[in-house]
Structures are given as structure tokens and as C-alpha cells.
Symmetry: C4
Subunit: 283 residues, 4 copies
């Protein structure tokens, strides 16, 4: 697609992808409210007594929101330079999944009880992920998490190994009488205990079992310090880098614009070209 | 109001707002004891057996405390230069709420069973917030929390999104039979689990449900590190700034005096003018 | 008491207060084993089935340990220069409490069922505090805790205020039917929830109650970061001070000797005079 | 054994101990999959309904895995220069324990119900420890844990002393009626509470008991900060050292090769001699 896009397309693009103009702000606010309303409706629908009383209200609201999201989806496809890239992107799939459930339920309208359809309808909860678009701001936070992800994975993997070994041990000691009916259940219990959740649906009753349970708890209480230490250190070093006078502009003022061509986001304010593909950006 | 306040007003102001004089200290101690006694009385009153036995004692004590707080409230209004500003301030509202419940219960004395009245009487527990006046010391602590508030909010928001998605998933998998009667309840369960509280009133029973529950727990165990890391880093940088030799007096000796004119607190010792409005301070 | 103490007193003092000699080491090991054995015995005695089977064994063992600790107590009094100071010190009281319960039970032998006597016998568990003598090593740890104690107290106090307010709110919303029978119970539940313990003996059942419970949990999950951040920062700064090249000997090699005169401990190795009172130390 | 080893031995050694060649990578992948499959099978076997349906499948799979691990074990012994050192090493014992249970069950085939045999079969879960070989990468992580191990031990020891004292107190206050049947059980409950696990199988019912329980929880909530602070500080200082420009090569590129002679691992890339015994390494 050339840069000579029609005028209305440029305007629509600005409304959808930029929050600087008045229309863009309004679009963002309406979308935000629609997302939250939609998720609240799905949640309320799942309450049987509520669903029976306000079935029609829920159905109509759902249709309004579905149509709204459909328009948004189409508008995004039309205004973006590379529609296929958008459609196959994370947000593209989320935006599609936000609309189709209701249409499918229309096709298979009579067979309401189908479990697959029920699951499909619940897919609408994933609309909450549309909110993630508005969470992208805290760069330092996400970069610190990304930097420590590998170490935390190793840590969680080690925790899992611990849980398998201790779970088997507890299965051997407590046995099915205390609720430790199989190794997977025992491992589940061990995870519940080590992470200090402690439901209490399964609890050791033999003295040796309680002794090992106490060991697991103290272990869990002690090693929670490890991931915390990792993120703390990582985050401190990231903050320090930010304050480093030799790299003064680590956190640039970004805007919510996204590149028409490659959909890259987080451009710095007043940037004239996409940092990713070099495409000229709207100003 | 001019600075030529009557002598007794100045004295009263000193007693209420300053802890340096003997009378001021005595006032503080009596107020502190009254607050704690009052909250303890409200708590004891809620124990039915206790209320039945010592009803008269509780009633009389409550009246004594109410009168005491009323006197305090009026004294504060009289001695402060801008009474309206005090009345509409946080502490002004708390001080008012500490006194009115008993008076209202006097007016509607006969209709004791009214739910609204019961709620009103419990309002007295908010008297505990009067204690917040004495907690203002740790500046570094609150400033560190304020600095990391935005990031922790983003984090908690992300946690909520996670809980909504996992909650819906668990509702789909476990269903009403295991206690996951609706999506809101499932989301509630998910929050209980992810925050490692784990009541156990609702617990997954199917293998897939337990597997996902284990995932949620390990997730919760791993990501608790994130807010901790944020506050740690923020707090470390705040402490470092404090120890920075180029800004040697970051933490000044403050006194408990508050400006007569604008109610600003935390003046540095021996300050002669309010840092906020320039009003002359008592010395 | 002059420095011309009899020879056996000097020897005994060395055995008890120093771990450098062979006899001193043996004394320490025997004492450690006696403490642990004693606490284990008290714990086993509380198991009814065990007590019935091995009553005589427990009784005799208890007598042996009591005599042992009595000898230790008397030896400490005799060898120390200022016995009164030792007797009124923390360890002096612990050492006394470790011996008297059995003697008192001898006097009131017949009236075994007395609740007071039962409590007295359980006092023996405090013998575990004798172990604290051997924990004194990690100076940095305790100094970091001491430094952040004030801030953590403020934090915990704020948590308590939160719990009282939320507890009253839950009492109002849930009421006695859900187990929130009084404000103290509700506050207890709130502490259980905010600290992420979550017993589940009391759990909210109304939707509003569960909503507020979720709020409390997320709050508890978020603010755990605060004390952790405080200790982290405090500890980091303490560690940094230790590594500071301008104060290279911050952590001196200490010995377990204690001053004969003033009972001060943690003298540096090869010190010839007590750092506290100037009394000459044994070498 | 001289350096003139036969050619096939060198090749086999490369396949087993080095992941650089194609054959070595394939060996690693097969081993990894075999370990995971094996542990999953042990877990599935423990589910009674699954075991009854797929008994033959489980038995045959187990034999295949056992034979595979036996071949691996023998191959490791043959290719290593000092077989005895390998056999008595941590991984040597794990590798042996991974194979023998099935053989022993063959010998005592008839007497399947034996509890000892059942325990032996569960030993196969320890095969998961074979995975630890692949976790060795994160040096900084393990060195930080090692550095703070002593301090965390002191901390956990102090926690244990607290639990014994509070446990005894709760036993005295609550008694057998509330489930605090003996001191060990009370101490177990105290550990459950202090570590914020909170099963709820035992919960205080008396007001004083609940008050002390609240104290324990707030204590547990407050002191979790201590180990976290320790690891954080330790980890930060380790990371700093790594970034220190004066010691630029603290983390060398290591390879997965292990010395033929002494089994030492973590050699730096392109090292020509074992850093431990001086033996020439394969290049």
C-alpha cells in the first residue's frame, strides 16, 4: 500500500491508534468501558439466578458489544497497512476472539446446551486481554521481569523437582487413607504447601507426615526469598542504569501511536519514522 | 483572623497541636488512651454475651468518650485559624465521625434494631484512624510507597486480569459441583489461591482442575517477587539519596506543631514561618 | 571479688564460658545435647499415649536433666564475679526457670492435676532459649533487624489499623451467620486473610463479603513487599558498610569468653581487658 | 588407565559427556525424554484405576526405561577414567537407583504386596534428580544461595525456636478439645501458621488462642522479610561483583565436558587440562 492513503483512512487510523486527539481519547474511553462492561456481563451471565432474571437484557447487551467490537476489528484491518500482520498478531487474534463467539452461537442457536458452545461463550472473557494494550507503559517493570525470567524459570523448575520428590515421599508415608490417593495428588498437595497456599482439603495426619509437611513449609518459607532476591537485584540494576548520567535518555517520552506498516508500538514522541521498518509515521 | 489571638486560645492551641510542653504531652497521652479504649469498647460491645452483662458500663463509657472527643473537636475548631479547612480535612471528618454516632443513637433511641443505626454505631471503629496522626513520622517509608504506587497498581491490575482468565477457566473445568458455581466465585477462588491465602472453602477436585490450580499457585509464588523487587529498589534508592553527602540534611528534625493558618504539619524545628502559607508560627 | 580467685574457680569458669579448651568444648556439646533432649522429652510427655507407656523413663530422664541444669546454674553463679548481675540477667532467669519446675512438682507431688502445675511443667520448654547463647554469631543479621525494627513496627501497626477497619466492615456485611460472630473474631479473620495464612475456619459467603475479602487479599499480597523492601535496603546498606575499605575490621574474630566482672560477651580474640568494664580477662 | 584409550571409548565418552556433537545432542534429548517419561509413568502407576487398566503397558514401558538407564549406567562406568569415583558420586548413586528397583521386583516378583518393595518402586521418582545435571548453568544463582545459606539457617533455626515456644503456649491455652492434642502437634500447627500456609485442619477457637494466633501470623508476615532481605543483598552484591570492571572474566564460557580422570565438571571452553587434577582433556 502506498503512502497516498485516502483521507478518511488517515483520520480513522488516528482515532484508533493515537490518544492525542479528542476523537482518539473518546475512542479509547468508549473501548475501555465496552471491554469492562463486556467482561462484567460474562461474569454476571454465569450466575444462574441472574441469568434467568435478566436473560434478555444480557442477550441484547452482548449483541451491542459484539457489534461494537466487530466494527473496531474491521476498522483496524482497514486502516492498518499490513492487515495480515495485524490479523495474525497477538492483539489481532484477541480482537477476533472477542467477536466470533456470539455469531457462532447464532448459527448453532437451538443446541444451547452444547458444552463446546458454552466454552466458546466463555472465551469472551479473553476480551480482558484487550486491556493489555493500555498496560504497556511501565517499560522498566517488564524489562526487569524479562531479564530475570530465565533465572526464575530455573528456580521454579527446581521447586517442581522438590515437589515431585516430597510428594512421592508423602504418598508413601500418608497413603490413601489421609487423602494422598496417588502421586499426582500428593505432588499437588506438596505444591499447595510449598507455595504456602495451604487449602487444607488434604492434610497429613500421621506424625511423620506432619514432620515432613513442616519441613516442606519451612523450605517454602525460606526459598520464597530466592525469586524475590533475583527480581530485586535485577530491578535495582535496571533502575540504576536508568539513573546513569552517561545514558541520560533511557526512558523516552513515548506515544501510543503504532506504525501503519509493521504495527510496532512505543514510538518516541515526535518520531518521524518507525524505528522498526523505517516507514514514515503520521505526525 | 489576625495574629492577635486571645491568650487562652494560644495556650489551648499549644496543648492540642504541640507535644513539647507538659500539658501537650498529657493531652496526647489522654487522647491516645481514649482512642484505644474507645475502639476496644466497640469491639467488646459486638460480643453479645459481653454486651448483655456489661451493657450499662459500655453505655456510660461510650458517653464519657463521646463527650471527650466532642470537647476535643470543638477545641480544635476554636483554636485553628481556618476552621472550615480543618472541618473539611481528613482528620476533621474523622474527628466528627468519632462523636456523632452516639448523639444520633440518642435521637433514634427507641428504634435500636435499625440496621442503619447499627452500621452507624460501628462507624466508631474509624476512631482508630485518629491514631494515624501519631504515625506520620516515617517519611522515607511513605515516600517510597508513594513512589512505587503506580508500578504496584499496574502489577495488581495484571494480577486481576490473570485471575479473571484463570477463574473462568476453572469455572469451565470444575463447574458448580466442586463449588465453582459462577465466574465471580471462581475469580474469587483464583484470587484466594494466587495470593497464597488458600482458605480451602472451595478446592478443585478434578485432576485437570488441580493441575491448573498448581500452575496458579506456582505463578503466585513466583510473581510475589515483583512488587517486592519494586519496593526494595525504590526504597534502596530513597535511602541512598538520604545518605548522599551532597544533600546532607534531607531528613530535618521536625516538630509536631501545625500551622494555625493552613494546618500544614511537619514543620522543621525552630521554623519561624509556615513553609506552606508563610504564616508566622508560634515559637 | 579480687582477681586472686582460687584455681578451681578459674578452671570452672574456663570450662563454662570458653569453648577453646577441650573441656570447654565437651561442656558445650553436653549442654547442647541436654537442652535438645530435654525439649524433646517435654514434647513427648505431652503425647498422652507415650506418657502412659514410658512414664517412669520420662520421669527419671527429667530428674537427670534437672540435676544437670541445677549444677550448671550453681556453677555459673559460683564462677561469675557478680552473681547477682547474672541471676537477674536474661540467661540467668532462663537458667533458673529450666530447673525449678521439677522441684516444685516434687513439693506438690500429690496434686498432679493442678492446671497451674501443668503450666509450670510446660515452662521447661523455655529451656530452648538456652540455645540462643549459641546463635549470637550473626551480628550483621541482628543489627539489620534492629535497624529496621522501628519501621517494621510502624508498618505492622498500620496493618493492624487496616485489619480493625476491614474486620468491622466484614462483621457488618457477613454477620454471625457466616461465622463473623463479633468484631474481635472478624478482626482475627482479617489478620488471617491479610497475612495470607487463610485457615478457612471462617470464610465469607455473601458476594459483597467475598469481594471485600478479595480486596484484603490483594492488599495483603501487595503490601508484604513493604517490610521486605525495608529489610532488604537496610541489610544491603549494612553489608556495604562491612565491605567499606575505610573500616576494614568491622567484623572481628570474637570468642565465646564472657567477662568475669560484668558478664559482657563477644570479646575480640586475645583481648586482654573487657571492652565494657576494663576488668582483666583470662587468657 | 593410560591416555591410549581405544577409539570407541573416546567416541562414547564424547556422546555421553559432551553436548557439542550431533550424537551428543541426540543422547541428551533421548535421556531427557526418558527421564520425564519415566517419572510420569511412576506417577500414573500410583493412580489405582489407571494401573488396573494399563498394567501391561506400564510394565513394558518400565522395562524399556530400566534397560535404557542400565545401558547408560554401564556406558558411563566404562568411559570414565575412574569408575569408582563415578559410582560413589552423587550422580553415580542416582543413576544406580534409577535402574535397580525393577530388577529387585523381578527377584521378589511373587510377593508384590511387600511394603518395602512398594517403597523401592517409588524410589524410581528420584530419577528426576538426573535432570539436575541440566540445571547446573546458573552459577550466580547457586553461589548467592550458598553464600546466604548460613544466615538463612540461623534464621530458620530462630523460627523453629519461636514455633516450639508458641506451640507449647497454644497447647496450654487451647488444649486437646480444639485439636491441639500434644505439643508436637501444636508446634506443627505453629509452623503451619507462621509460614502463612494455614491448612485450617487445626484452628484456635478460644479468644486468647485466636489472639496469640494473630500475633504469630503478624510475626510470620513481618519476618518473611528477613531471609528475603538477606538473599536480595547477597544477590545484589554477587551481581555487582560480576559487573565489576576490575574482574572482567568472573563468568567464563564453560562447556558441558567432564574430566575423564576425576569427573570434575564446568571446565572453561577450550581448556586443555582439567583444572582439578591436571589430566589432559579431549579437545
Amino acid at each position: 500500500m502506498s503512502t497516498a492513503t485516502t483521507n478518511w483512512k488517515t483520520k480513522l487510523h488516528d482515532i484508533i491508534y493515537e490518544a492525542d486527539t479528542r476523537a482518539g481519547k473518546l475512542f479509547d474511553v468508549i473501548l475501555l468501558m465496552a471491554i469492562i462492561a463486556s467482561v462484567v456481563l460474562v461474569m454476571l451471565e454465569s450466575i444462574e439466578s441472574f441469568d434467568q432474571k435478566f436473560h434478555d437484557f444480557l442477550n441484547i447487551s452482548e449483541w451491542i458489544i459484539t457489534v461494537l467490537f466487530s466494527i473496531e476489528y474491521i476498522a483496524r484491518i482497514v486502516t492498518v497497512k499490513k492487515p495480515l500482520k495485524y490479523i495474525t498478531s497477538f492483539y489481532g487474534i484477541i480482537d477476533l476472539l472477542s467477536t466470533i463467539p456470539k455469531y457462532i452461537s447464532l448459527i448453532f442457536g437451538g443446541i444451547h446446551a452444547l458444552a463446546a458452545l458454552r466454552a466458546l461463550r466463555l472465551l469472551r472473557v479473553f476480551r480482558i486481554l484487550k486491556l493489555a494494550r493500555y498496560l504497556g507503559a511501565s517499560q522498566v517493570l517488564t524489562s526487569a521481569i524479562k531479564a530475570s525470567k530465565a533465572k526464575i524459570s530455573v528456580f521454579l523448575f527446581a521447586v517442581l523437582i522438590l515437589c515431585i520428590i516430597f510428594g512421592t515421599l508423602m504418598y508413601l508415608i500418608e497413603g490413601a487413607a489421609s487423602g494422598f490417593t496417588s502421586i499426582p495428588v500428593s505432588v499437588y498437595w506438596c505444591i499447595v504447601t510449598l507455595t504456602t497456599v495451604g487449602f487444607g482439603d488434604i492434610a497429613p495426619v500421621t506424625p511423620i507426615g506432619q514432620f515432613i509437611a513442616a519441613l516442606i513449609m519451612i523450605l517454602g518459607y525460606g526459598i520464597i526469598a530466592v525469586p524475590t532476591g533475583i527480581v530485586s537485584a535485577e530491578y535495582t540494576s535496571h533502575s540504576n542504569k536508568k539513573q546513569n548520567p552517561s545514558k541520560p535518555n533511557n526512558e523516552l517520552p513515548l506515544n501510543s501511536q503504532s506504525c501503519e506498516n509493521c504495527l510496532a508500538e512505543n514510538h518516541r514522541d515526535h518520531a518521524r519514522h518507525c524505528y522498526n521498518c523505517g516507514e514514515k509515521l503520521y505526525e
